[in-house]
Amino acid sequence: MELGRRFGVIVLASAVLLVVTVHTDAHKPVTSKYDYNRDVFPLLRDHCGSCHVEGGPAPMSLMTYKNAMPWAEAIRDEITSGRMPPWPVDATSPSVKAGHAITSREINMIVVWASGGTPQGNADVDPPAVTFSPQWKVGPPDLKISMDAEHTIPPENMEEVREFSLATNLTDTKWVKAADLMPGTASIVRDVIISIENGPVLALWQPGSETTAAPAGAAFRMAPGSKIHLQIHYKKNFNQEQSAVSDRSTVGLYFTDPPPSGRELRSFTIDPPKGSNVAGPAQIVAIRPMLDRAYASLLIEAVTPAGMHVPLLALHGPRPQWFRRYWLQEPVTLASGSEIVVSVTPLSDYSDEPKLTPRFPLQVSLDYVAQ
């Protein structure tokens, strides 16, 4: 790379680094035919930009060449391991809503760039600016409920899982088709389980994930006086180490009319490797795998009483930290007695996986409407 191509000096706030600057120009010979400005930026924007943007949930932005280049090796590692982008639905899986799979060609372009000298391309034309603008993803909620007070993660803690109970003050029954969350401090809200207290899970919230409404005719019943239960996983990033960081998030609920059938969305949970039988005719609308560790693959299928195998979900390289509810594009109706079978294949090598404290046993919950 040319000596004249300079990147910013980053002075980190540690005592040691106060006297040391960082220059990220590595003088790598360029072998990549893909460059950042023309080829890679659009891919990073579309697949990573909801989090990896200045002020966003991720600790580093990838939305400018200057920001992305020093992370090239990590980008390559995350992408080729399948950890990023965190969308593990296999192409052979029954379709799920709000999918944003990265294609093999796109993977290849990014890795070629990251491996081949990370060329910038035409430095005179910067890619358009990408900004972080948190918003309710499916429009203004029908009901917004904020945490009663800020929660502060003290300087000595990097990570916490906290439970919160939020009063809704509802006086009549409501039917919930979707729930979303507006983090107070996006950089520390890692994931949230939004439930009706002592009731169903309304949403599994992750930064950057879409908010999907239950299909027509399916909704969660919320009785008068119900409370919202939040399980928030806070995690500071390396820039926030030794700092107190506070959050006061807000839940948004979206109501709908009572289902015509009058039946609410319910769920049942199975603990692999043990399977489970569907108690009565049921229309499966969504699936929530919760993992104890990373897997090479996870396959969920139903075996009908007639012996027919009905695929429900196929994941490639799912990670426990990226749990979500997969809403089926086409709900699947199963006869009573159908068996749900979950098959998992461990990774061949866990040495490169981030060291996470397991939070859940391996469980798969299926959301359904009784038929």
């Binding site: 540690s14 590595a26 035919k33 020093p70 070629v112 081949g116």
Partner: protein, 482 residues
């Protein structure tokens, strides 16, 4: 491309490091050596010297040198000396004399080295001012130093070991260019300490240098440890000496201080067939080797080498395979310094022909962009090409040439991508998601093979090879050729 680079750099490496240049009548490059004498052995005519960095010749290290025979050893421990040294001879000091220049203080700066900054000439490194060989521009002075950085992220470089703030892993050593800048004006870039316009002292800055090549210097098999710093070349010397050479990330000889290792004979599948043997410091001139005699060795021979770089370090495994005894490269005219890989990918590898053993590049340097240009255009031809390249992967794996397996793997990935991009519509609609899934798995596996091959660990490669092979088989099944 990696192959082209490998061949070019191999020739450079061979020519530059193989023999005593003077004995061969080949032009040799002189360097100036400085260091502090630690021990004098008059009888053996050797000096143990804590040497400073000599760009293009040797990294800073303490080692024992022969003294030029015409020289009287009029030095004592503690003296600072200056001497002449030559390419290709890493153990002899010529014209040794006392260094009467100002004694080096502990904070002395690394000496100046000279590099080209023009694209395509990034690999040029000299210890004297001059011109870049291709562009003719003046060489640019820099100071090469060992700095410490996060393994996967380039946002942190500092002058001392420490912990990466991003992932809490230990910082790893890297070769960097040291310069001095101002806290309030990052455009300042000087080679000396000094004072900034605002009166404050200049602060150190480090610029990461490009990674060295991965070409063997002694006809062996070349791998890189997962810290990207330690590099090693395993050789099998007739009749039964297993020897490993160590290098830093600039492919300069690296002292084996604190290293401990064992080697065990294995079968072709990597299973031990003999008790591990402790390896000891070799007597090679660079003092950067570990070796062990392994009686009864027959060809082809396979060895698993396990090494710790520090007593409390983790043990790393490297699997070497030798179809023949290692042969020291033959010297020739002094080559040009290495140059960058051209931006246009090289043609696809020839079917069933593994690349030249030991390839240049690694995860962090000029690497790996095998070609997707020049591929055949029809589905039948592409499937044939896929089969050939997959077979080549199998062949290379069976030979144990782990550092070469990336090439056909990346090539097969390119064929699969071409199939998906240009020929998916020839499949029934129900088959298309299967192809997308298989191509994705193949793409990921190929890139992981590219990374793992550099590390030389068969156990890491085997599951990736299985994923790769399964994806290839799925593609062939989808197209009905299996």
């Amino acid at each position: 491309m990696k192959q082209a680079l490998a061949i070019f750099l191999m020739s450079w490496a061979i020519l530059g490091f193989s023999r005593e240049p003077a004995q061969q009548g080949v032009l040799r490059t002189e360097h100036t050596f400085r260091g502090k004498v630690e021990k004098v052995d008059a009888a053996a005519r050797t000096l143990t010297v804590n040497g400073e960095n000599v760009p293009g010749w040797m990294a800073p290290m303490t080692m024992t040198y022969r003294v030029d025979k015409t020289q009287k050893l009029a030095v004592k421990p503690g003296d600072r000396i200056i001497a002449k040294v030559y390419d290709g001879d890493f153990v002899t000091l010529h014209d040794v004399r006392l260094d009467t220049t100002k004694p080096a203080a502990p904070n002395d700066l690394p000496p100046l080295s000279y590099v080209c900054t023009t694209p395509g000439e990034e690999g040029v490194l000299e210890d004297k001012p001059g011109k870049c060989p291709q562009s003719g521009l003046s060489l640019v002075p820099i100071r090469l130093a060992t700095a410490y950085s996060c393994l996967k992220v380039q946002t942190v470089i500092q002058d001392k070991p420490g912990v990466c703030p991003v992932d809490r892993s230990a910082l790893v050593p890297i070769t960097a260019a040291l310069y001095f800048t101002c806290r309030n004006d990052s455009t300042v870039r000087e080679l000396e300490p000094g004072t900034c316009a605002d009166g404050s002292a200049r602060i150190k800055g480090f610029e990461r240098r490009s990674h060295g090549d991965h070409n063997p210097r002694h006809g062996g098999q070349f791998f890189m440890a997962d810290d990207n710093w330690h590099h090693l070349e395993g050789t099998l010397i007739r009749p039964n000496i297993f020897r490993v050479y160590f290098y830093d990330d600039f492919t300069r000889p690296l002292a084996i201080t604190g290293f401990s290792a064992t080697v065990a004979k294995t079968d072709a599948n990597g299973k031990p067939i003999a008790t591990p043997i402790a390896v000891k410091a070799g007597r090679t001139r660079d003092r950067n080797t570990l070796e062990a005699a392994i009686p009864g060795t027959t060809l082809p021979a396979n060895f698993t080498f396990r090494v710790k770089f520090k007593p409390d370090d983790k043990e790393r495994q490297f699997d070497f395979a030798f179809a023949d005894y290692s042969k020291e490269p033959v010297a020739g005219p002094r080559p040009q310094p290495p140059v960058a890989v051209p931006a246009t990918p090289a043609p696809a590898p020839a079917p069933n022909v593994p690349p030249t053993p030991i390839t240049g590049g690694d995860n962090s340097t000029a690497t790996t962009v095998a070609s997707d240009d020049g591929l055949p255009t029809t589905t039948t031809e592409l499937l044939g090409e896929l089969a050939k390249r997959a077979e080549s992967v199998t062949t290379v794996m069976q030979k144990g040439d782990l550092s070469a397996v990336w090439y056909p793997a990346i090539g097969a990935k390119d064929v699969a991508l071409a199939l998906e991009q240009n020929h998916v519509n020839e499949l029934p609609e129900a088959e298309r998601p299967k192809l997308a899934s298989a191509v994705r798995r193949l793409t990921l596996a190929a890139w992981r093979i590219d990374s793992a091959g550099d590390l030389g660990n068969r156990e890491l490669l085997l599951p990736l090879y299985r994923d790769f092979s399964a994806a290839v088989a799925d593609i062939q099944m989808i197209y009905g050729t299996r």
